[in-house]
């Protein structure tokens, strides 16, 4: 099968339209970030607390909010998480003024008190306690009478039983009733009976809790910015080393900045949260976008070696056409994978995958219309300056507002 058999599309004919479209997208993103919504930072960067909880029954969000408002934790956001039928919610708590408060612990305690029907305080909550506590309680009660035996120690024996119970809880999602313990394999009837008598099931189970203080948040922000900047610099260095040409280097880096700006802008527009995993996706994108650009550049360089008289624009067009099939196919294959992550990978990978989806589209486009176009525009500009016989052609008019800044800057120096 073949989609692109010896295509001959004049891509660069539309370069000014493309540059206009790019600027429009960038402007839209910047407008969203700086004027309208701002960038929505996740707790990795803004600090604060996020707690994911799974309930036994469909939770009443308003009621949860009422309960938590009494805890004196400031602004609290509650939203449904993952698929609705799993009864999961994500609770966010704003950054506390003073470091050191156990916010997650306080939220869980408040929820437990506010929701739980009154139970015997001597009993243990099967959905809350970890295996350490279960093992300790079992060892103290010793329902299997192992303390006198010489072949096993009670501690080890009951730790194993506790592990099995917690394992069952993990695979069930949570315990709905103490009777669920009867379904645990590998524990004795007296242990099961002990659970019936001494345990109850709380209304929810903790999935994850994250708490990031303001110091760490600020650190991570700085680190993320530096990582993006340095990897862009690294790319510039690599292209400078491999191609030994200024317009190629500038084209590649402008394409990178272009891709990063558009992707971040669109994420802001879609109201997506900016966190560590998204930065990881952005850095991957920088590598990916460069990858695409380098393939086109490699072909341009190869074609330049053949002694064929051909204007640069035609040569670059030819190179783009020659690599078009590869570009589309590779982007397509990567896109298939990323789409699978987007639809099947779960909440954590959702924004990660979306970032890559946007990035792959923008990166593929930018290697043609930004990286390659800049090389053409740059060389055109230089040639025109060198000739300087005729006044600038009519077509040069849009250059002034939308031409790439490095090109004109470099040129003004030479004047």
């Amino acid at each position: 099968m073949e989609f692109f058999r010896q295509t001959n599309i004049d891509f660069l004919k539309y370069k000014w339209w493309a540059i206009g479209a790019s600027w429009a997208l960038i402007a839209l993103g910047l407008f969203t970030i700086f004027v309208q919504k701002g960038l929505k930072f996740g707790i990795d960067f803004s600090g604060g607390t996020a707690i994911a909880v799974r309930f036994a029954e469909r939770p009443d969000i308003d009621r949860l909010r009422k309960i938590l408002d009494g805890a004196g934790l400031g602004e609290i956001g509650i939203q449904r998480y993952e698929e609705a039928d799993k009864n999961e919610v994500l609770i966010r708590v704003q950054q506390q003024k003073k470091e050191g408060r156990d916010v997650a612990g306080d939220v869980l305690k408040t929820l437990r008190q506010g929701l739980a029907s009154p139970t015997d305080p001597g009993k243990i909550d099967l959905n809350t306690e970890g295996k350490g506590t279960l093992a300790a309680r079992l060892t103290a009660a010793d329902p299997d009478k192992v303390s006198g035996r010489s072949d096993v120690t009670a501690g080890d024996y009951y730790t194993q039983a506790a592990e099995r119970v917690i394992g069952k809880r993990s695979s069930l999602g949570l315990f709905h009733a103490a009777a669920d313990v009867n379904g645990v394999e590998g524990i004795s009837a007296p242990v099961k009976a002990w659970f019936q008598a001494n345990a109850y099931t709380g209304p929810f189970v903790l999935l994850s809790a994250e708490n990031v203080g303001p110091q760490v948040g600020a650190d991570l922000q700085k680190k993320a910015l530096l990582a993006v900047i340095w990897s862009t610099v690294g790319m510039l260095a690599y292209v400078a080393f491999r191609f030994r040409s200024l317009p190629f280097g500038v084209g590649a880096v402008v394409a990178l900045v272009h891709d990063t700006l558009i992707t971040v802008g669109l994420l802001a527009l879609f109201g997506r949260e900016f966190n560590l995993v998204v930065v990881a996706a952005l850095l991957t994108l920088i590598g990916y976008s460069m990858n695409d650009t380098v393939v086109v550049y490699d072909r341009v360089r190869e074609n330049q070696k053949t002694p064929k008289k051909e204007p640069l624009e035609a040569l670059i067009n030819r190179s783009i056409n020659q690599t078009l099939s590869r570009t589309i196919l590779t982007s397509g294959a990567t896109m298939l994978v990323v789409l699978a992550l987007y639809f099947l990978g779960g909440e954590v990978l959702h924004t990660f995958a979306l970032t890559l989806i946007i990035g792959i589209v923008v990166g593929t486009y930018s290697s043609i219309y930004v990286a390659a176009a800049i090389v053409v525009i740059w060389k055109d500009f230089k040639n025109r300056r060198r000739l300087a016989v005729v006044p600038a052609p009519v077509r040069a008019e849009p250059i002034a507002p939308s031409g790439p800044p490095p090109a004109s800057k470099k040129n003004s120096k030479r004047r």
């Binding site: 073949e2 799974r54 470091e99 997650a104 970890g130 295996k131 350490g132 120690t153 194993q160 809880r169 993990s170 999602g173 949570l174 189970v205 999935l207 994850s208 809790a209 708490n211 990031v212 203080g213 110091q215 760490v216 680190k223 990582a227 990897s231 690294g234 790319m235 690599y238 560590l276 930065v279 990881a280 850095l283 991957t284 590598g287 990916y288 460069m290 990858n291 380098v294 490699d298 190869e302 099939s325 590869r326 196919l329 590779t330 397509g332 294959a333 990567t334 298939l336 994978v337 990323v338 789409l339 699978a340 992550l341 099947l344 990978g345 779960g346 954590v348 990978l349 990660f352 890559l356």
Partner: protein
């Protein structure tokens, strides 16, 4: 089959066999370590535990703590004040001020004996600068000493936390210093965040107290008291378990401790007479006084060293002990070392603040693995189908290369003990998506060569050689950005970078070397080829 080709096939077979062997071997060794039940781990268990899972997949706690070094500085200052007060009892010094954590001032009255004060300052406070003026002497902690105090406080906090975590019994804990005053703690498999957090932050309590009875069993000790109840001025404390036995011994000790961890300045392992190993400890000024009085009055009795409510050892008091003492016993060198460490690290030298805290419950980890694996399998299948449809037989060639890529990546991760995280799973599958690029570059080149009228064999050779430079370039760019990613961020993101880098390095081998070899196996033998299925 040519000689050269035979070697290439052999190399591939060896690499793949080594990868599978390495993976299974690592799997068994990991699974055995974690195995608690009877028998041994099955083959399935070994396959499952070959790759170490990150906290986000197996559940656990990630904590970043800050050591409040000001606490340690204050303690150092209070110590200095105490020492100076004791040494200048008859010098008639005036009121004491505490302006900052690292300085204090002593008021001067007309009666103050300045010679004595100066003598005491020079002799007992070598780490302090002092200046006179304004009717007082101001003492400031010297800069190197301040730094040393802060340094010690953080190092000691790390030791203390490590001791406690070990005591708690966590498999593969990570406790490391981060920067000047931060400590990173990662505890996989812990599902009870509150308990662990309390345990770590709790100030370890060391007390040296007189032994009333013991060591013996709990019941025997209780029986010595009327009614079998320990009287309120005493308490029953468990002794440290002897290695190799599960028998528990208990002591009855006085509730009122002679001295506590706060009175201890330092402790180090020493070698006493006849080469016996012992621990020498040093007390603060006030500690010395209390200890001297108590030990002098109780020679011949036993003194229990109790840490966090557990008797570490209970040596006999041989003499009156003041500022420094020796704990003797039948210690091995390691035991002496450890005991000194526990004494030093016993109490946290300074308060701790939690800066960052991430807990993942066991059920979320299971969910994440399930989803990550489903997405990966789906993604890989989609790519495979696309390749087979688009490139026909050559597509199968690419699929073999990709499968090998996945296999080698899994083996490399298990052998390098790299940690797989949820973003790491994404990196795994992304690698597959990107590794396709190398195959595509080659195949497109071959098609182009064929279109230009080259013979199939030459087209294949040219395709590989012409695409090679580009393949190196594309890998280099992605690896550069992944290296910067490695420098940044926490566990899960690092896991992603590691997976991506290893995967891309491997794809250089599979997409170029393996794929080329398969082509040659398929077409190289025949004398004449009419067409290539591509």
């Amino acid at each position: 089959m040519g000689k050269k080709l035979r070697w290439r096939v052999l190399l591939i077979v060896v690499v793949v066999a080594a990868a599978i062997g390495g993976y299974v071997f690592t799997g068994y060794s990991h699974a055995k370590k974690e195995w608690t039940g009877p028998g041994g781990p099955s083959f399935k268990d070994a396959l499952k535990s070959a790759i170490k899972l990150g906290l986000d997949l197996r559940g656990g706690i990630h904590l970043v703590l800050q050591v409040n070094t000001a606490d340690a500085l204050k303690a150092e200052r209070d110590d200095a004040v105490e020492t100076l007060k004791n040494q200048t009892k008859d010098a008639a010094i005036g009121a004491i001020e505490l302006p900052t954590d690292t300085s204090f001032a002593i008021g001067i009255t007309p009666q103050t004996d300045l010679t004595k004060l100066e003598e005491a300052a020079k002799r007992f406070l070598p780490d302090w600068n002092y200046s006179t003026g304004g009717g007082k002497w101001t003492f400031t902690l010297k800069e190197p000493a301040r730094r040393q105090t802060e340094e010690n406080a953080v190092a000691q906090a790390v030791e203390t936390i490590r001791n406690r975590v070990d005591e708690f019994g966590v498999a593969e804990p990570l406790i490391a210093r981060e920067g000047a005053d931060r400590i990173l703690v990662q505890l996989p498999g812990i599902d009870d965040p509150k308990r662990v957090k309390d345990l770590i932050k709790n100030t370890a309590f060391l007390e040296l107290t007189l032994v009333e009875a013991g060591p013996s069993s709990e019941a025997a000790l209780k029986a010595t008291f009327p009614g079998g109840v320990v009287p309120p001025q005493f308490k029953l404390v468990e002794g440290k378990a002897e290695s190799g036995t599960h028998e528990r011994t208990y002591y009855v000790v006085r509730k009122q401790a002679v001295i506590t961890g706060r009175d201890l300045k330092n402790a180090r392992p020493t070698q006493g007479q006849f080469g016996a190993h012992s621990i020498t400890f040093f007390l603060t000024a006030s500690g010395s006084q209390k200890f001297g009085e108590a030990t002098g009055a109780n020679i011949g009795k036993r003194l229990a060293i109790v840490l966090d409510n557990r008797v570490q050892s209970a040596p006999n008091i041989k003499d009156r002990i003041t500022e420094t003492g020796v704990i003797e016993g039948s210690f091995s060198p390691e035991e002496a070392n450890d005991l000194a460490l526990v004494l030093r690290a016993g109490a946290l030298p300074a308060g701790l603040v939690y800066l960052e805290e991430r807990t993942v419950g066991p059920s979320l980890g299971l969910d994440s693995i399930r989803k990550g694996v489903t997405a990966s399998v789906a993604g890989a299948l989609l790519v495979f189908v696309a390749m087979a449809v688009y490139y026909r037989r050559a597509g199968w060639n690419a699929i073999i290369a990709l499968v090998l890529n996945g296999l080698l990546l899994a083996a490399a991760m298990s052998l390098f003990e790299a940690t797989l995280t949820l973003p790491g799973i994404a990196g795994f599958i992304l690698t597959i998506g990107m590794a396709v690029d190398s195959n595509v570059l080659v195949f497109e080149r071959i098609r182009e060569e064929l279109r230009n009228g080259r013979a199939p064999k030459a087209a294949i050779e040219n395709g590989f050689s012409k695409a090679f430079a580009t393949i190196v370039d594309t890998h280099a760019t992605t690896i550069i950005s992944a290296l910067f990613l490695l420098q940044f961020g926490t566990g899960p993101v690092k896991g992603f970078a590691v997976t991506l880098i290893i995967g891309l390095l491997i794809s250089m081998f599979t997409a170029v070397f393996v794929s080329h070899t398969i082509f040659e196996l398929e077409y190289g033998r025949r004398q004449h080829i009419d067409s290539v299925s591509i």
